[in-house]
Protein backbone atom coordinates (compact mmCIF):
# COMPACT_ATOMS: atom_id res chain seq x y z
CA UNK A 1 0.00 0.00 0.00
CA UNK A 2 1.33 3.39 -0.96
CA UNK A 3 -0.17 6.63 0.24
CA UNK A 4 0.99 9.87 -1.25
CA UNK A 5 0.25 13.52 -0.80
CA UNK A 6 2.61 15.53 -2.94
CA UNK A 7 2.93 19.24 -3.51
CA UNK A 8 5.58 20.73 -5.71
CA UNK A 9 5.73 24.15 -7.33
CA UNK A 10 7.88 25.27 -10.21
CA UNK A 11 8.24 28.97 -10.86
CA UNK A 12 7.92 30.19 -14.41
CA UNK A 13 11.18 29.53 -16.22
CA UNK A 14 12.80 31.13 -19.20
CA UNK A 15 10.71 29.13 -21.63
CA UNK A 16 8.20 27.47 -19.37
CA UNK A 17 4.99 28.44 -17.65
CA UNK A 18 4.76 27.98 -13.89
CA UNK A 19 3.56 24.56 -12.87
CA UNK A 20 2.25 23.22 -9.63
CA UNK A 21 1.66 19.63 -8.69
CA UNK A 22 -0.83 18.92 -5.94
CA UNK A 23 -1.98 15.33 -5.80
CA UNK A 24 -3.20 12.91 -3.19
CA UNK A 25 -3.94 9.24 -3.71
CA UNK A 26 -3.63 5.73 -2.36
CA UNK A 27 -2.78 2.57 -4.22
CA UNK A 28 -3.06 -0.96 -2.91
CA UNK A 29 -1.50 -4.10 -4.38
CA UNK A 30 -2.52 -4.36 -8.01
CA UNK A 31 -2.23 -2.15 -11.04
CA UNK A 32 -3.08 1.52 -10.61
CA UNK A 33 -2.92 3.64 -13.71
CA UNK A 34 -1.92 7.31 -13.66
CA UNK A 35 -3.76 8.63 -16.66
CA UNK A 36 -3.58 12.09 -18.17
CA UNK A 37 -2.31 14.16 -21.07
CA UNK A 38 1.35 15.14 -21.48
CA UNK A 39 2.26 17.80 -18.99
CA UNK A 40 -0.25 16.66 -16.37
CA UNK A 41 2.55 15.83 -13.93
CA UNK A 42 2.33 12.04 -14.10
CA UNK A 43 6.03 11.36 -14.48
CA UNK A 44 6.82 14.05 -11.91
CA UNK A 45 4.58 12.20 -9.47
CA UNK A 46 6.51 8.97 -10.10
CA UNK A 47 9.81 10.79 -9.69
CA UNK A 48 8.68 12.16 -6.33
CA UNK A 49 7.75 8.67 -5.17
CA UNK A 50 11.07 7.24 -6.38
CA UNK A 51 12.98 10.02 -4.63
CA UNK A 52 14.48 11.64 -7.72
CA UNK A 53 12.59 14.84 -7.04
CA UNK A 54 11.98 16.32 -3.61
CA UNK A 55 8.42 17.60 -3.11
CA UNK A 56 7.88 20.92 -1.36
CA UNK A 57 5.27 19.54 1.00
CA UNK A 58 3.32 16.41 1.69
CA UNK A 59 3.93 12.89 2.84
CA UNK A 60 4.66 9.63 1.07
CA UNK A 61 4.09 6.43 2.98
CA UNK A 62 4.97 2.98 1.64
CA UNK A 63 3.46 0.28 3.83
CA UNK A 64 4.47 1.65 7.23
CA UNK A 65 7.66 3.36 6.11
CA UNK A 66 7.85 7.11 5.61
CA UNK A 67 9.60 7.86 2.32
CA UNK A 68 8.99 11.57 2.49
CA UNK A 69 7.53 13.88 5.06
CA UNK A 70 7.59 17.58 4.43
CA UNK A 71 6.80 18.54 8.00
CA UNK A 72 9.64 16.61 9.62
CA UNK A 73 12.04 16.94 6.68
CA UNK A 74 12.34 13.20 6.02
CA UNK A 75 13.42 12.58 2.43
CA UNK A 76 14.85 9.12 1.88
CA UNK A 77 17.44 8.73 -0.86
CA UNK A 78 16.30 6.76 -3.91
CA UNK A 79 18.68 3.99 -2.78
CA UNK A 80 16.72 3.49 0.44
CA UNK A 81 13.21 3.40 -0.97
CA UNK A 82 12.88 -0.12 -2.40
CA UNK A 83 10.85 1.14 -5.33
CA UNK A 84 11.33 -0.59 -8.65
CA UNK A 85 11.29 1.86 -11.57
CA UNK A 86 10.82 0.98 -15.23
CA UNK A 87 12.07 3.95 -17.21
CA UNK A 88 10.50 5.21 -20.38
CA UNK A 89 13.68 4.50 -22.35
CA UNK A 90 14.35 1.36 -20.21
CA UNK A 91 17.68 2.90 -19.03
CA UNK A 92 19.46 -0.45 -19.32
CA UNK A 93 23.17 0.17 -18.81
CA UNK A 94 24.52 -0.01 -22.36
CA UNK A 95 28.01 -1.12 -21.33
CA UNK A 96 26.80 -4.15 -19.41
CA UNK A 97 25.36 -7.42 -20.61
CA UNK A 98 21.81 -8.18 -19.73
CA UNK A 99 22.97 -10.50 -16.94
CA UNK A 100 25.26 -7.79 -15.52
CA UNK A 101 22.36 -5.37 -15.62
CA UNK A 102 20.39 -7.70 -13.39
CA UNK A 103 23.36 -8.44 -11.13
CA UNK A 104 23.93 -4.73 -10.64
CA UNK A 105 20.60 -4.55 -8.84
CA UNK A 106 21.42 -7.30 -6.34
CA UNK A 107 25.13 -6.80 -5.78
CA UNK A 108 24.81 -6.59 -2.05
CA UNK A 109 23.38 -10.04 -1.49
CA UNK A 110 25.66 -13.12 -1.17
CA UNK A 111 26.99 -14.58 -4.38
CA UNK A 112 25.15 -17.90 -4.45
CA UNK A 113 21.82 -16.31 -3.66
CA UNK A 114 22.55 -13.65 -6.26
CA UNK A 115 23.21 -16.20 -8.99
CA UNK A 116 20.06 -18.05 -8.10
CA UNK A 117 17.97 -14.89 -8.22
CA UNK A 118 19.40 -13.70 -11.52
CA UNK A 119 18.89 -17.12 -13.09
CA UNK A 120 15.33 -17.22 -11.81
CA UNK A 121 14.51 -13.79 -13.21
CA UNK A 122 16.12 -14.53 -16.57
CA UNK A 123 14.05 -17.69 -16.76
CA UNK A 124 10.83 -16.00 -15.71
CA UNK A 125 11.14 -13.28 -18.30
CA UNK A 126 12.42 -15.61 -21.03
CA UNK A 127 15.79 -13.91 -21.26
CA UNK A 128 18.18 -16.77 -20.45
CA UNK A 129 19.27 -17.26 -24.05
CA UNK A 130 20.15 -13.62 -24.60
CA UNK A 131 21.60 -12.94 -21.14
CA UNK A 132 25.11 -12.48 -22.55
CA UNK A 133 24.07 -9.75 -24.95
CA UNK A 134 24.24 -6.04 -24.45
CA UNK A 135 21.10 -3.92 -24.64
CA UNK A 136 21.78 -2.65 -28.18
CA UNK A 137 21.80 -6.23 -29.41
CA UNK A 138 18.32 -6.91 -28.02
CA UNK A 139 14.88 -6.47 -29.53
CA UNK A 140 12.44 -3.94 -28.11
CA UNK A 141 10.46 -6.63 -26.32
CA UNK A 142 13.55 -8.16 -24.76
CA UNK A 143 14.74 -4.77 -23.53
CA UNK A 144 11.29 -4.16 -22.14
CA UNK A 145 11.24 -7.47 -20.25
CA UNK A 146 14.80 -6.94 -19.04
CA UNK A 147 13.97 -3.54 -17.60
CA UNK A 148 11.00 -4.99 -15.75
CA UNK A 149 13.08 -7.93 -14.51
CA UNK A 150 15.80 -5.56 -13.32
CA UNK A 151 13.28 -3.41 -11.49
CA UNK A 152 11.79 -6.45 -9.75
CA UNK A 153 14.89 -8.46 -8.89
CA UNK A 154 15.60 -6.55 -5.69
CA UNK A 155 12.11 -7.45 -4.38
CA UNK A 156 10.77 -3.88 -4.33
CA UNK A 157 7.68 -3.02 -2.35
CA UNK A 158 6.38 -0.81 -5.14
CA UNK A 159 6.86 -0.88 -8.91
CA UNK A 160 6.68 2.35 -10.89
CA UNK A 161 6.37 2.20 -14.68
CA UNK A 162 6.73 5.29 -16.82
CA UNK A 163 4.80 4.78 -20.08
CA UNK A 164 6.14 1.29 -20.61
CA UNK A 165 4.14 0.77 -23.81
CA UNK A 166 5.30 3.93 -25.50
CA UNK A 167 6.73 3.24 -28.92
CA UNK A 168 5.85 -0.45 -28.92
CA UNK A 169 3.89 -1.94 -31.79
CA UNK A 170 0.66 -3.85 -31.19
CA UNK A 171 2.12 -7.37 -30.70
CA UNK A 172 4.78 -6.07 -28.30
CA UNK A 173 2.12 -4.15 -26.43
CA UNK A 174 0.09 -7.32 -26.01
CA UNK A 175 3.21 -9.12 -24.83
CA UNK A 176 3.91 -6.36 -22.32
CA UNK A 177 0.38 -6.52 -20.96
CA UNK A 178 0.71 -10.26 -20.48
CA UNK A 179 4.01 -9.76 -18.66
CA UNK A 180 2.51 -7.10 -16.41
CA UNK A 181 -0.50 -9.25 -15.54
CA UNK A 182 1.93 -12.01 -14.65
CA UNK A 183 3.88 -9.62 -12.44
CA UNK A 184 0.66 -8.55 -10.81
CA UNK A 185 -0.16 -12.20 -10.06
CA UNK A 186 3.22 -13.08 -8.60
CA UNK A 187 4.17 -9.97 -6.69
CA UNK A 188 1.83 -8.69 -4.05
CA UNK A 189 2.86 -5.06 -4.48
CA UNK A 190 1.29 -1.93 -5.92
CA UNK A 191 2.17 -1.31 -9.57
CA UNK A 192 1.78 2.30 -10.62
CA UNK A 193 1.77 2.77 -14.34
CA UNK A 194 1.81 6.06 -16.21
CA UNK A 195 0.00 6.25 -19.52
CA UNK A 196 -1.98 8.57 -21.73
CA UNK A 197 -3.69 5.72 -23.52
CA UNK A 198 -7.17 4.94 -22.20
CA UNK A 199 -7.21 1.55 -23.92
CA UNK A 200 -4.28 0.64 -21.71
CA UNK A 201 -6.18 1.71 -18.61
CA UNK A 202 -9.07 -0.56 -19.53
CA UNK A 203 -6.74 -3.45 -20.37
CA UNK A 204 -4.59 -3.30 -17.27
CA UNK A 205 -5.86 -0.97 -14.65
CA UNK A 206 -7.74 -2.07 -11.58
CA UNK A 207 -7.75 1.47 -10.35
CA UNK A 208 -7.25 4.61 -12.33
CA UNK A 209 -6.21 8.10 -11.30
CA UNK A 210 -7.03 10.78 -13.84
CA UNK A 211 -4.66 13.74 -13.73
CA UNK A 212 -4.84 17.09 -15.40
CA UNK A 213 -2.62 20.14 -14.93
CA UNK A 214 -1.05 18.77 -11.78
CA UNK A 215 -4.30 17.78 -10.07
CA UNK A 216 -6.24 14.55 -9.60
CA UNK A 217 -9.58 15.07 -11.31
CA UNK A 218 -11.11 11.64 -10.81
CA UNK A 219 -10.25 8.19 -9.52
CA UNK A 220 -11.86 4.81 -9.50
CA UNK A 221 -11.94 1.65 -11.60
CA UNK A 222 -11.35 2.48 -15.30
CA UNK A 223 -14.67 0.93 -16.31
CA UNK A 224 -16.45 3.24 -13.90
CA UNK A 225 -14.56 6.32 -15.02
CA UNK A 226 -15.51 5.43 -18.55
CA UNK A 227 -19.16 5.02 -17.68
CA UNK A 228 -19.39 8.05 -15.46
CA UNK A 229 -16.74 10.69 -16.12
CA UNK A 230 -16.72 13.11 -13.18
CA UNK A 231 -16.81 16.20 -15.35
CA UNK A 232 -16.42 17.47 -18.86
CA UNK A 233 -12.63 17.72 -18.50
CA UNK A 234 -12.32 14.03 -17.73
CA UNK A 235 -14.66 13.18 -20.59
CA UNK A 236 -12.53 15.26 -22.91
CA UNK A 237 -9.33 13.59 -21.70
CA UNK A 238 -10.74 10.15 -22.41
CA UNK A 239 -11.46 11.40 -25.92
CA UNK A 240 -14.21 8.85 -26.36
CA UNK A 241 -17.35 10.95 -26.13
CA UNK A 242 -19.38 13.40 -28.12
CA UNK A 243 -19.63 16.52 -26.02
CA UNK A 244 -22.37 18.95 -27.06
CA UNK A 245 -23.11 22.21 -25.27
CA UNK A 246 -26.82 22.19 -24.37
CA UNK A 247 -29.24 24.22 -22.28
CA UNK A 248 -31.84 22.60 -20.05
CA UNK A 249 -35.28 23.81 -21.14
CA UNK A 250 -37.52 21.64 -19.00
CA UNK A 251 -37.27 18.97 -16.30
CA UNK A 252 -40.10 16.61 -15.45
CA UNK A 253 -39.28 14.14 -12.67
CA UNK A 254 -42.78 12.65 -12.84
CA UNK A 255 -42.43 11.37 -16.38
CA UNK A 256 -38.64 11.04 -16.07
CA UNK A 257 -38.12 13.45 -18.94
CA UNK A 258 -36.03 16.48 -19.70
CA UNK A 259 -35.95 18.83 -22.66
CA UNK A 260 -32.60 20.06 -23.93
CA UNK A 261 -31.78 22.71 -26.50
CA UNK A 262 -28.80 22.20 -28.80
CA UNK A 263 -28.46 25.16 -31.18
CA UNK A 264 -31.88 25.25 -32.90
CA UNK A 265 -32.85 21.72 -32.04
CA UNK A 266 -34.62 20.18 -29.12
CA UNK A 267 -33.75 16.81 -27.67
CA UNK A 268 -35.55 14.73 -25.10
CA UNK A 269 -33.53 13.07 -22.37
CA UNK A 270 -34.11 11.39 -19.04
CA UNK A 271 -34.72 13.47 -15.93
CA UNK A 272 -31.46 14.86 -14.50
CA UNK A 273 -31.62 15.16 -10.72
CA UNK A 274 -29.92 18.13 -9.14
CA UNK A 275 -30.06 20.33 -12.23
CA UNK A 276 -32.03 23.48 -12.81
CA UNK A 277 -33.90 24.80 -15.81
CA UNK A 278 -31.64 27.17 -17.71
CA UNK A 279 -28.41 25.36 -16.77
CA UNK A 280 -25.77 25.35 -19.50
CA UNK A 281 -24.36 21.82 -19.46
CA UNK A 282 -22.56 19.33 -21.65
CA UNK A 283 -24.38 16.47 -23.24
CA UNK A 284 -22.05 13.50 -23.11
CA UNK A 285 -22.81 10.55 -25.32
CA UNK A 286 -20.69 7.73 -26.70
CA UNK A 287 -20.41 7.41 -30.50
CA UNK A 288 -21.57 3.79 -30.41
CA UNK A 289 -24.95 4.51 -28.78
CA UNK A 290 -25.96 6.98 -31.48
CA UNK A 291 -27.58 5.64 -34.62
CA UNK A 292 -27.75 7.15 -38.07
CA UNK A 293 -29.96 6.98 -41.14
CA UNK A 294 -29.90 8.74 -44.50
CA UNK A 295 -31.90 11.95 -44.42
CA UNK A 296 -35.35 11.70 -46.00
CA UNK A 297 -38.13 14.21 -45.40
CA UNK A 298 -39.25 15.20 -41.92
CA UNK A 299 -37.19 14.89 -38.78
CA UNK A 300 -38.65 12.82 -36.03
CA UNK A 301 -38.06 13.66 -32.39
CA UNK A 302 -34.51 13.35 -31.06
CA UNK A 303 -33.11 13.43 -34.55
CA UNK A 304 -30.51 15.88 -35.72
CA UNK A 305 -29.60 16.54 -39.35
CA UNK A 306 -25.86 16.44 -40.09
CA UNK A 307 -23.44 16.43 -42.97
CA UNK A 308 -20.91 13.63 -43.13
CA UNK A 309 -17.36 15.00 -43.21
CA UNK A 310 -15.43 11.76 -43.32
CA UNK A 311 -15.64 8.09 -42.51
CA UNK A 312 -12.77 6.52 -40.59
CA UNK A 313 -12.58 2.80 -41.17
CA UNK A 314 -11.76 0.57 -38.24
CA UNK A 315 -11.32 -3.19 -38.36
CA UNK A 316 -14.89 -3.99 -37.24
CA UNK A 317 -16.66 -0.70 -37.37
CA UNK A 318 -16.77 2.62 -39.16
CA UNK A 319 -16.50 5.92 -37.33
CA UNK A 320 -18.54 8.62 -39.08
CA UNK A 321 -17.52 12.16 -38.35
CA UNK A 322 -20.18 14.84 -38.89
CA UNK A 323 -20.14 18.60 -38.82
CA UNK A 324 -20.70 20.05 -35.36
CA UNK A 325 -18.06 17.68 -33.94
CA UNK A 326 -20.34 14.68 -33.63
CA UNK A 327 -19.02 11.19 -34.24
CA UNK A 328 -21.05 8.04 -34.61
CA UNK A 329 -19.81 4.48 -34.74
CA UNK A 330 -21.75 2.04 -36.78
CA UNK A 331 -21.19 -1.44 -38.14
CA UNK A 332 -19.28 -1.77 -41.35
CA UNK A 333 -22.12 -3.61 -43.08
CA UNK A 334 -24.57 -0.85 -42.22
CA UNK A 335 -22.30 1.80 -43.68
CA UNK A 336 -21.45 -0.13 -46.86
CA UNK A 337 -25.10 -0.04 -47.90
CA UNK A 338 -25.18 3.76 -47.86
CA UNK A 339 -21.64 4.69 -48.65
CA UNK A 340 -22.52 7.53 -51.04
CA UNK A 341 -24.94 9.36 -48.73
CA UNK A 342 -23.75 12.77 -47.52
CA UNK A 343 -26.77 14.10 -45.61
CA UNK A 344 -27.78 12.07 -42.60
CA UNK A 345 -29.90 12.25 -39.50
CA UNK A 346 -28.45 11.27 -36.15
CA UNK A 347 -30.76 9.76 -33.61
CA UNK A 348 -30.14 10.35 -29.89
CA UNK A 349 -31.65 7.52 -27.82
CA UNK A 350 -33.48 9.23 -25.00
CA UNK A 351 -32.26 7.11 -22.12
CA UNK A 352 -28.57 6.99 -23.11
CA UNK A 353 -28.17 10.73 -22.75
CA UNK A 354 -26.03 11.94 -19.90
CA UNK A 355 -25.06 15.44 -18.96
CA UNK A 356 -21.92 16.71 -17.25
Amino acid sequence: MIQARIRKRFAAGFESAPFSLDVEFKAAAGITVLFGPSGAGKTLTLDCMAGFVRPDEGRILLDDQILFDGASGVHLAPQARHCGYVFQNYALFPHMTLRKNLEFAVERIPRLERHRKVAEMLEKFRLTEVSGRRPYELSGGQKQRCSIARALIGSPRLLLLDEPARGLDAPLRAELYTALRQVRQEFEIPLILVTHDFEECLQLGEEMIVMREGRVVQNGPPRKVFEQPANVDVARLLGLFNLLPVEILALDPGRNISRLRYHDFELTGPYFPGRLIGDQVWLCVRPDVLSVAPKDGRLRSNQLPATLLRAVEKPERVRLEFDGDIAVETSRAEFEKQRAVKEWVIEFPQNSLRIL
Binding site: Q79, Y85, P94, P135
Partner: protein, 227 residues
Protein backbone atom coordinates in the same frame (compact mmCIF):
# COMPACT_ATOMS: atom_id res chain seq x y z
CA UNK B 1 76.02 12.13 -35.29
CA UNK B 2 75.68 11.44 -31.60
CA UNK B 3 72.16 12.01 -30.38
CA UNK B 4 71.50 12.47 -26.69
CA UNK B 5 68.25 10.57 -26.04
CA UNK B 6 67.83 11.98 -22.56
CA UNK B 7 65.52 14.90 -23.57
CA UNK B 8 63.12 12.56 -25.37
CA UNK B 9 63.03 10.13 -22.47
CA UNK B 10 62.54 13.00 -20.00
CA UNK B 11 59.69 14.44 -22.07
CA UNK B 12 57.86 11.11 -22.23
CA UNK B 13 58.30 10.61 -18.51
CA UNK B 14 57.12 14.15 -17.70
CA UNK B 15 54.11 13.79 -20.00
CA UNK B 16 53.14 10.41 -18.53
CA UNK B 17 53.37 11.59 -14.94
CA UNK B 18 51.54 14.86 -15.58
CA UNK B 19 48.77 13.08 -17.51
CA UNK B 20 48.30 10.64 -14.64
CA UNK B 21 48.16 13.47 -12.10
CA UNK B 22 45.85 15.49 -14.35
CA UNK B 23 43.50 12.49 -14.58
CA UNK B 24 43.22 12.38 -10.82
CA UNK B 25 42.66 16.09 -10.34
CA UNK B 26 40.70 16.58 -13.57
CA UNK B 27 38.16 13.77 -13.07
CA UNK B 28 37.39 14.92 -9.57
CA UNK B 29 37.01 18.56 -10.60
CA UNK B 30 34.98 17.64 -13.68
CA UNK B 31 32.65 15.49 -11.59
CA UNK B 32 32.12 18.32 -9.12
CA UNK B 33 31.46 20.79 -11.94
CA UNK B 34 29.06 18.41 -13.68
CA UNK B 35 27.09 17.29 -10.61
CA UNK B 36 27.14 19.98 -7.98
CA UNK B 37 25.51 23.34 -8.08
CA UNK B 38 27.20 26.11 -6.16
CA UNK B 39 28.01 29.75 -6.54
CA UNK B 40 31.09 30.57 -8.55
CA UNK B 41 31.00 27.23 -10.38
CA UNK B 42 31.50 28.80 -13.78
CA UNK B 43 34.29 31.00 -12.41
CA UNK B 44 36.11 27.89 -11.27
CA UNK B 45 35.58 26.37 -14.69
CA UNK B 46 36.97 29.51 -16.32
CA UNK B 47 39.95 29.59 -13.95
CA UNK B 48 40.76 25.98 -14.79
CA UNK B 49 40.62 26.81 -18.49
CA UNK B 50 42.81 29.89 -18.15
CA UNK B 51 46.14 28.11 -18.75
CA UNK B 52 44.90 27.17 -22.23
CA UNK B 53 44.76 30.80 -23.29
CA UNK B 54 47.38 32.60 -21.20
CA UNK B 55 50.83 33.18 -22.73
CA UNK B 56 53.25 30.54 -21.37
CA UNK B 57 55.46 33.27 -19.94
CA UNK B 58 52.58 34.64 -17.88
CA UNK B 59 51.80 31.20 -16.56
CA UNK B 60 55.47 30.54 -15.89
CA UNK B 61 55.81 33.83 -14.05
CA UNK B 62 52.80 32.98 -11.83
CA UNK B 63 54.28 29.60 -11.06
CA UNK B 64 57.65 31.11 -10.16
CA UNK B 65 55.91 33.52 -7.83
CA UNK B 66 53.89 30.76 -6.17
CA UNK B 67 56.42 27.91 -6.18
CA UNK B 68 59.76 29.75 -5.83
CA UNK B 69 62.28 28.85 -3.10
CA UNK B 70 61.17 31.70 -0.83
CA UNK B 71 57.43 31.04 -1.05
CA UNK B 72 55.49 28.94 1.50
CA UNK B 73 54.77 26.19 -1.04
CA UNK B 74 58.38 26.17 -2.21
CA UNK B 75 59.60 25.89 1.39
CA UNK B 76 57.20 23.07 2.23
CA UNK B 77 58.28 21.18 -0.89
CA UNK B 78 61.93 21.64 -0.05
CA UNK B 79 61.36 20.48 3.51
CA UNK B 80 59.46 17.41 2.29
CA UNK B 81 61.69 16.31 -0.56
CA UNK B 82 65.02 17.81 0.43
CA UNK B 83 65.51 19.90 -2.71
CA UNK B 84 63.93 22.90 -4.37
CA UNK B 85 61.07 22.39 -6.79
CA UNK B 86 62.00 25.07 -9.29
CA UNK B 87 64.64 24.13 -11.85
CA UNK B 88 64.16 20.40 -11.26
CA UNK B 89 62.52 17.91 -13.61
CA UNK B 90 59.55 17.81 -11.23
CA UNK B 91 58.95 21.46 -12.09
CA UNK B 92 58.60 20.38 -15.71
CA UNK B 93 55.86 18.03 -14.53
CA UNK B 94 54.10 20.95 -12.85
CA UNK B 95 54.42 22.97 -16.05
CA UNK B 96 52.93 20.15 -18.12
CA UNK B 97 50.21 19.64 -15.54
CA UNK B 98 48.91 23.12 -16.20
CA UNK B 99 48.44 22.22 -19.85
CA UNK B 100 47.00 18.77 -19.29
CA UNK B 101 44.46 19.54 -16.56
CA UNK B 102 42.31 22.10 -18.43
CA UNK B 103 41.96 19.75 -21.39
CA UNK B 104 40.89 16.93 -19.12
CA UNK B 105 38.49 18.95 -17.02
CA UNK B 106 36.77 20.40 -20.07
CA UNK B 107 36.35 17.08 -21.83
CA UNK B 108 35.48 15.07 -18.74
CA UNK B 109 32.87 17.58 -17.63
CA UNK B 110 31.23 17.45 -21.05
CA UNK B 111 31.47 13.65 -21.03
CA UNK B 112 29.90 13.36 -17.56
CA UNK B 113 27.17 15.77 -18.49
CA UNK B 114 26.37 13.86 -21.67
CA UNK B 115 25.74 10.61 -19.79
CA UNK B 116 21.98 10.18 -19.90
CA UNK B 117 20.52 11.15 -16.53
CA UNK B 118 18.22 8.14 -16.58
CA UNK B 119 21.21 5.78 -16.21
CA UNK B 120 22.23 7.58 -13.05
CA UNK B 121 18.66 7.55 -11.78
CA UNK B 122 18.39 3.86 -12.59
CA UNK B 123 21.59 3.11 -10.69
CA UNK B 124 20.43 5.03 -7.62
CA UNK B 125 17.04 3.39 -7.86
CA UNK B 126 18.74 -0.01 -7.87
CA UNK B 127 20.49 0.83 -4.64
CA UNK B 128 23.91 1.90 -5.90
CA UNK B 129 25.87 4.31 -3.70
CA UNK B 130 27.16 7.50 -5.32
CA UNK B 131 30.66 6.02 -5.43
CA UNK B 132 29.52 2.81 -7.10
CA UNK B 133 27.39 4.84 -9.49
CA UNK B 134 30.50 6.78 -10.49
CA UNK B 135 32.80 3.79 -10.93
CA UNK B 136 30.33 1.38 -12.46
CA UNK B 137 28.08 3.61 -14.55
CA UNK B 138 29.16 7.20 -15.13
CA UNK B 139 32.88 6.58 -15.63
CA UNK B 140 32.49 3.56 -17.96
CA UNK B 141 29.95 5.44 -20.05
CA UNK B 142 32.21 8.48 -20.26
CA UNK B 143 35.37 6.36 -20.55
CA UNK B 144 36.12 6.84 -24.21
CA UNK B 145 35.84 10.62 -24.19
CA UNK B 146 38.02 10.72 -21.10
CA UNK B 147 40.69 8.45 -22.61
CA UNK B 148 40.63 10.58 -25.74
CA UNK B 149 41.06 13.67 -23.59
CA UNK B 150 43.91 11.97 -21.71
CA UNK B 151 45.63 11.20 -25.02
CA UNK B 152 45.31 14.83 -26.02
CA UNK B 153 46.60 15.94 -22.65
CA UNK B 154 49.59 13.62 -23.02
CA UNK B 155 50.38 15.01 -26.45
CA UNK B 156 50.03 18.55 -25.18
CA UNK B 157 52.30 17.84 -22.19
CA UNK B 158 54.93 16.45 -24.51
CA UNK B 159 55.25 19.71 -26.36
CA UNK B 160 55.44 22.36 -23.66
CA UNK B 161 58.19 24.88 -24.12
CA UNK B 162 57.56 28.22 -22.47
CA UNK B 163 56.38 27.29 -19.01
CA UNK B 164 59.01 24.57 -18.68
CA UNK B 165 61.69 27.04 -19.63
CA UNK B 166 60.47 29.52 -17.02
CA UNK B 167 60.22 27.23 -14.01
CA UNK B 168 62.36 24.19 -14.83
CA UNK B 169 65.03 25.92 -16.87
CA UNK B 170 67.03 24.38 -19.66
CA UNK B 171 69.65 22.30 -17.87
CA UNK B 172 71.00 19.59 -20.22
CA UNK B 173 70.78 16.17 -18.64
CA UNK B 174 68.47 17.39 -15.89
CA UNK B 175 65.56 19.49 -17.08
CA UNK B 176 66.10 19.74 -20.80
CA UNK B 177 62.95 18.34 -22.42
CA UNK B 178 62.76 17.50 -26.09
CA UNK B 179 61.20 20.83 -27.06
CA UNK B 180 64.05 22.69 -25.38
CA UNK B 181 66.64 20.33 -26.85
CA UNK B 182 65.36 21.03 -30.37
CA UNK B 183 65.61 24.75 -29.74
CA UNK B 184 69.20 24.34 -28.51
CA UNK B 185 70.12 22.13 -31.42
CA UNK B 186 68.84 24.66 -33.92
CA UNK B 187 70.58 27.50 -32.12
CA UNK B 188 73.84 25.55 -32.15
CA UNK B 189 73.46 24.85 -35.89
CA UNK B 190 73.07 21.14 -35.20
CA UNK B 191 70.42 20.58 -37.88
CA UNK B 192 70.69 16.79 -38.08
CA UNK B 193 69.89 16.30 -34.38
CA UNK B 194 66.99 18.77 -34.58
CA UNK B 195 65.54 16.97 -37.63
CA UNK B 196 65.56 13.57 -35.93
CA UNK B 197 63.94 14.92 -32.76
CA UNK B 198 61.34 16.87 -34.73
CA UNK B 199 60.40 13.80 -36.74
CA UNK B 200 60.16 11.57 -33.68
CA UNK B 201 58.04 14.02 -31.72
CA UNK B 202 55.75 14.61 -34.73
CA UNK B 203 55.34 10.85 -35.17
CA UNK B 204 54.47 10.33 -31.53
CA UNK B 205 51.95 13.19 -31.58
CA UNK B 206 50.34 11.91 -34.78
CA UNK B 207 50.02 8.44 -33.31
CA UNK B 208 48.41 9.77 -30.14
CA UNK B 209 45.97 12.02 -31.98
CA UNK B 210 44.79 9.26 -34.29
CA UNK B 211 44.30 7.08 -31.22
CA UNK B 212 42.24 9.87 -29.65
CA UNK B 213 40.09 10.10 -32.76
CA UNK B 214 39.47 6.36 -32.78
CA UNK B 215 38.36 6.58 -29.16
CA UNK B 216 35.83 9.35 -29.65
CA UNK B 217 33.58 7.26 -31.88
CA UNK B 218 30.89 5.60 -29.77
CA UNK B 219 31.24 1.91 -28.94
CA UNK B 220 27.50 1.32 -28.58
CA UNK B 221 26.48 2.21 -32.07
CA UNK B 222 24.58 5.41 -32.67
CA UNK B 223 23.39 7.27 -29.61
CA UNK B 224 19.83 5.95 -29.94
CA UNK B 225 21.10 2.41 -29.61
CA UNK B 226 21.34 3.02 -25.90
CA UNK B 227 17.62 3.44 -25.67
Amino acid sequence: MAIDWFPLWLSLRVAAISTALALGIGLWLAWVLANRNFRGKEIIDAAVTLPLVLPPTVLGYYLLVVLGRNTPIGRIYEWLFGGPLVFSWQAAVVAALFHATPLLVKSARAAFESVDRSYERAARNLGASELRLFWRVTLPLARRSILAAAALAFARSLGDFGVTLMIAGNIPGRTQTVALAIYDAVEAGNGAVARVMVLIISGVALLILSLANRLTSSPYGPRQAAL
